[in-house]
Amino acid sequence: MNYTIAEKILLDHSNLNTLSPDQFIESEIDLIMVHEQLGGRIHEEYNKLGLDYVWDPDKIFFILDHWVPPPTISAAKMHQDCRSFANKYNFTHNMGQNKGICHQVLPEMGFARPGMLIVGSDSHTTTYGAFNCFSTGIGATDVSVVFATGKLWFKVPYSYKINLEGNFSEGVMAKDFILKFIGDISTKGAIYKSLEFHGDGAESLSIDGRMTIANMAVETGAKSGIFLPDNKLEAWLSKRTSKSYKFIKPDDNADYQKEFHYNLEELAPIVAKPNNPGNIANIEEVEGIEVNQAFIGSCTNGRLEDLRIAAKILKGKEISSDIRLIIIPASREIYLDALKEGLIEIFLEIGAVIGNSTCGPCIGGHLGVLGPNEVCISSTNRNFKGRMGHPNSKIYLASPATVAASAINGKITDPRRFL
């Protein structure tokens, strides 16, 4: 046998004996994540099937996270539609609206375990690849198909192997690596591929860092971004779940369509300029660009590791009251941990706005919407035109360290100056 991780997991979930890239297969789904899309197109599409059941209410993870609490009447109505659907079909894992962002809460609660095949009504469902899962985003109609049958068609992807070695130097983070990779390979460089992260560099990454990388794998066009299992993952899972799982490693002779090598030690802070996550620059090229807003949060970089480095940089500094510094822990659990560690106090003292755990400004929903020509430096994953507000506003993507340093100066700033 010579299978990659993606191939192994897909094979495990189909009734085939072998498979190969480009083949169309049908696979059984272990878990499906849905958020506000449930009250968007999903309930509409599912109604067309006229079913009074879902295949397995125990395999659906439902959460409200994008517009929490609802900033508009229409968002509130959307939530009402979601809730009535979840109640009607007796969803077992109805997480409600106060736990945080889907891609943070689901793994935190032990729902993402090695070897699982997970889909979600959100493109950043790739995040669970950090937990040695095959996980990918799907649209509302696909969700309806899963709700009805528990199965979905897939085209088996080719895999790319990304070898990482070394450790980051101070002030450089997983976000800098993934931005660099997206810039190098381009936002179409891995369309339909599965990325597999190997090497001692990958092992040296924290679980938080792996999640950042798997999260943004989709920005290369990839279908999934998967990490190998190791002791760190095992230790993490032991605190989150008592369910059994099996580690999935690729075969020694697994076939990779392309291979890449990165030495993490050689990386420096990277920023993605508007309006494309692949439009990267080294920090020196963009230092000095003025910003109106700095945002640390989202499913990409709203975790404890991110808040810790931000606090280290921001502690005792002064932020001009002209700059909006918005900090949103990605989940209630992270918020509480940050509170206990004193990070929230540091943020409040310097004048940051701390939001409840929600997507918030990441999609321009609320809590920091950009006006015409405003510039934001953001720890999020997409800097598409108009994503955070007015179509003429501009978004620079960076690590939480770079965002924090930039908030202090009101200009894009190399975080290493403060470390």
Partner: protein
Amino acid sequence: MDIIQGKVYIMGDDINTDDIVPSHSLTLRDACDMAQCACETIDPEFSTISENLNIIIAGENFGCGSSREEAVNVFKILGIKAIIAKSIARIYFRNLINLGIPGIILDWNKDDFSRSDEILISLEKGEVDNITKNKTITFEKLPPFLINILKKGGILNKIKETL
């Protein structure tokens, strides 16, 4: 379904789902209202232009970004019959097929199509016939599995038969 006829609307590279359906319109409860906002950052007139121009020809990585199926549904509401692009983002491609709209990968150049050109697409033959320019271009045919979903008018119709 095999033959699709229409007029061409040209778009560039990396048209993302926020371009097609701006986030601010996502909570609108009426899909037709949402369709009025389609592609507003690219072309404020888009929702009216597509009455006449109903086949989109785009560059690389069409539909990249979010999984929001609204980004296909607004095109469906506005009467778009097919998308031809140099490459199409994965989730977007699935959403197109699932809603019964052909997504065709074709490496075209700017001499091949101009705005408003009248074209005929044959899915079975894998050909685009540009009637205005009197030119035929071939593309890699969609696999039968996907053609079958398109013929049924989308995957829900196919699923219904098995329930």
